[in-house]
């Protein structure tokens, strides 16, 4: 099965360690504005939401690319930009409905999350609360289902 970055917002503390780790790993500097994963802080609502590329099954960015520079590896599921083929036209940037692919002026190429390629995702490695997990199954979803099921179970006991 293919692994993905799984996100459980209730564990997030809004520290943006993921943004720091990502930009340091891929851009060589701590620069949240260049991170491929984004941690948004909604202070008034006491909510922290983290978003990144979901490595779509049928990616909008790939379909949009006029140069065939974006491909999805069927084994790993990773959607990658080939920097040699990419001409920096930004068609993919317009096409992604989630804003998860961007144009980097310093490289002149499109840039997106590739789950750190063959290595363990750096954002997950530095997430202090395990709000981020890298797994085949959607573990946070499984935990939610289990919590719900346990509530149902406890209710049964009281009948």
């Amino acid at each position: 099965m293919q692994k993905l970055i799984r996100i459980e917002p209730s564990n997030c503390i809004g520290c943006k360690s993921c943004e720091l780790a990502c930009s340091f790993r891929h851009r060589g500097e701590f620069a949240p504005s260049k991170s491929r994963i984004i941690n948004e802080v909604f202070m008034e609502d006491a909510q922290f939401i983290t978003v990144t590329c979901m490595q779509c099954e049928d990616p909008w960015c790939r379909k949009a690319c006029p140069k065939g520079a974006i491909d999805k590896d069927m084994k790993s599921g990773i959607v990658t930009v080939d920097e040699v083929k990419c001409v920096g036209c930004r068609t993919c940037v317009s096409a992604c409905p989630f804003g998860m692919i961007r144009y980097l002026p310093e490289t002149g190429k499109a840039d997106k999350c590739n789950l750190c390629g063959s290595e363990f995702p750096e954002c997950v490695a530095f997430c202090p609360t395990h709000c981020l997990k890298f797994s085949e199954e959607d573990l946070p979803l499984r935990e939610k289902v289990l919590k719900f099921a346990r509530t149902m179970k406890d209710g049964q006991g009281e009948v």
């Binding site: 503390i13 520290c15 943006k16 360690s17 340091f24 500097e29 620069a31 949240p32 530095f126 609360t129």
Partner: protein, 601 residues
């Protein structure tokens, strides 16, 4: 690649309305680490210590450290350095949130603000473009309103540090609030900002911070992350209960100053504890940028009398607006804490000043007519009302805005002000915890807990357990903690990380970032250099070593209650030893040998 620094500072002259970019003095950056140390070096160079703190000739420096904006040890801090209008000493107040890193990402390490604007202005920084904008429409607005308005008109992602109405009205302990709820809180750094008619600094930075040794830096950060997450204080206690975890601990130790330090325990401590906050108004915990501890409290008030939401209260606030006012009404404390953030006031001095007024009232030195209401200890509604009046600069609030030292003095009873060098001490009784008494007396910014937090060894047993009543060796401990803290602050690291990491880890991170090969001893010496530089500033400012003392109550009145009953501060025995381990003469003046050794001669 990089070296942790941007190598640039922004100089803002409010009188001339100019913004100029200068190269950072890298020689000073190496000798004084950054942040607190580096900014104080600039202050001593450019400001006469004898200047009136509210004069246009005083300067206000916003400073990041070489680690600010990176990861590893909650490296999201910045400091505001100036001469304090509360104490007359050097002031350095530290804050986290998101503003400090954004400032660094804009490409500036420091912002030096000088002169005085004729009309209210605010500073806008968008990467390397900086300009002063009219702030007439922001004047009078609270800190949260100000941030919203600036974001709407400047940049939706801008991070904002600003003053509230208290700073404008020159309340002596106004703070600079960033990200709505984080504060460079103590010593009136916001008062200086208000005196300059500078309402806010708004910054949008899309650049980054590079380090010299990327693999080495990453490895050091992996180690600190692990240590911070595995330690019971930074990995469990602070995330679960925040700093408020201390309410019950300090109360049980007999060191929770109650009713303006008339007692050392509070019988209703449970009602204002971190545990109670979790049961009532806590929504979730949060970290500042790059923080893996997350001691921050996001709270929302649900109460028939009060409403609002925000961050906190912290332990010190639960004490200042709570125990020392005899107040056990959690909703009222949370509300007053919000008001302090919105008006931009230091909660410690605010609450302690209300407590002082309560004691003056208790002893018949202030009348109900003067205050406008009865002012008994434990009256939570009066406490909230007075916080509001102080923020607005109305009624009796104008007198509370002077701080407890000036307030008590004006009623001929200075002994009821729980201050050192006119700054209120925080939530630890110097009689119950001897080392903290020494720390208050010798701190370079007046009474303070975050210059040398001896509660850590004396109560928490970190890094080793000391007897809080013993005085042997406390001078050396105070010096060591003060020097390490100066280093940690200056680096841009959060002090709370030092419950679990130490100088070896900070050294690795600093060397990894700057590319320098400093030894731990060299960096400890830098901490000592910073401490002595601050001391010299204070001496030149006319702060006599005779002020290295404590209120009469702490020195002479035995604690009447609790496990430390009968204790008084043994400061007179500790202070000569402290001067000796500092390498100062018997009068408390740094010797020429010591200054030469530190490169300060």
């Amino acid at each position: 690649m990089g070296n942790g620094w941007q190598g640039r500072l922004l100089r803002v002259n409010l009188s001339d309305k100019t913004c100029t970019i200068e190269a950072l003095n890298m020689e000073w950056a190496a000798a004084y680490v950054g942040g607190r140390g580096l900014a104080t070096r600039y202050l001593t160079e450019e400001v006469d210590p004898a200047v009136d703190a509210l004069d246009a000739a005083n300067k206000l420096i916003f400073a990041t450290g070489p680690l600010t904006g990176t990861y590893g040890a909650a490296n999201g801090r910045y400091m505001v350095v100036t001469k304090s209008p509360l104490t007359g000493t050097v002031a350095c107040s530290n804050s986290g949130g998101y503003f400090p890193c954004e400032l660094k990402y804009s490409g500036f390490d420091l912002v030096i603000v000088e002169g005085k604007a004729e009309q209210p202005l605010y500073l806008r920084i968008h990467n390397q473009y900086a300009e002063l904008a009219d702030a007439g429409h922001l004047w009078g607005k609270t800190t949260d309103e100000t941030e919203d308005l600036i974001r709407a008109e400047f940049h939706g992602d801008a991070k904002v540090a600003c003053i509230g109405p208290a700073g404008e009205k020159l309340v002596r302990y106004a703070c600079v609030v960033n990200d709505k709820h984080r504060a460079a809180g103590r010593s009136g750094v916001g008062t200086v900002m208000g005196s300059k008619n500078l309402k806010a600094i708004a910054v949008r930075g899309t650049g980054g911070v590079g380090v010299a040794d990327a693999p080495g830096f990453r490895e050091a950060a992996r180690e600190t992350l692990k240590m911070l997450r595995q330690h019971p204080v930074t990995g469990e206690g602070l995330p679960a209960l925040g700093t408020a975890i201390l309410v019950n601990i300090i109360n049980q130790s007999g060191g929770l100053p109650t009713n303006n330090s008339q007692f050392g325990t509070f019988d209703k401590a449970e009602d204002i504890s971190g545990e109670r906050l979790v049961q009532t108004f806590l929504k979730r915990n949060k970290g500042c940028m790059g923080c893996v501890i997350a001691c921050g409290r996001l709270t929302k008030l649900v109460d028939p009398r009060f409403s609002g939401s925000g961050e906190g209260p912290e332990y010190e606030t639960l004490w200042s607006l709570g125990a020392t006012c005899g107040v056990s009404d959690m909703a009222a404390i949370v509300k007053a804490n919000y008001l302090c953030d919105e008006y931009g006031m230091d909660t410690i001095t605010m609450g302690s000043t209300v407590a002082c007024a309560m004691e003056l009232y208790q002893r018949g030195l202030i009348t109900e007519e003067e205050v406008g209401m009865p002012l008994n200890f434990g009256d939570s509604n009066a406490m909230v009302k007075l916080v509001e009046l102080t923020g607005k600069g109305e009624g009796f609030g104008t007198q509370l805005g002077l701080g407890s030292a000036r307030l008590a003095e004006s009623y001929g009873a200075p002994e009821f002000s729980m201050t050192v060098k006119k700054q209120e001490f925080p939530a630890y009784d110097g009689r119950a915890i001897q080392g903290m008494g020494l720390e208050y007396a010798t701190s370079n910014r007046g009474a303070c807990h975050v210059r040398g937090y001896l509660v850590s060894p004396e109560i928490l047993g970190l890094p080793e357990k000391l007897d809080p009543q013993a005085i042997e060796g406390k001078a050396a401990w105070a010096k060591a903690f003060q020097d390490v803290t100066a280093l940690v602050d200056s680096a841009g690291v959060c002090l709370f990380t030092t419950f679990s990491i130490g100088v070896p880890q900070v050294t690795r991170l600093l060397n990894g970032a700057t590319g320098l090969a400093c030894s731990e001893d060299q960096l400890m010496a830098a901490g000592e250099r910073i401490w002595n530089m601050e001391r010299l500033f204070n001496l030149k400012a006319g702060i006599s070593p005779a002020q290295d003392t404590l209120p009469k109550r702490i020195l002479d009145e035995p604690l009447p209650d609790g496990p430390m009953k009968g204790a008084v501060s043994r400061l007179p025995e500790m202070l000569p030893e402290y001067y000796r381990v500092r390498g100062w003469d018997v009068q408390g003046i740094p010797t020429t040998e010591k200054l030469a050794e530190l490169g300060l001669a």
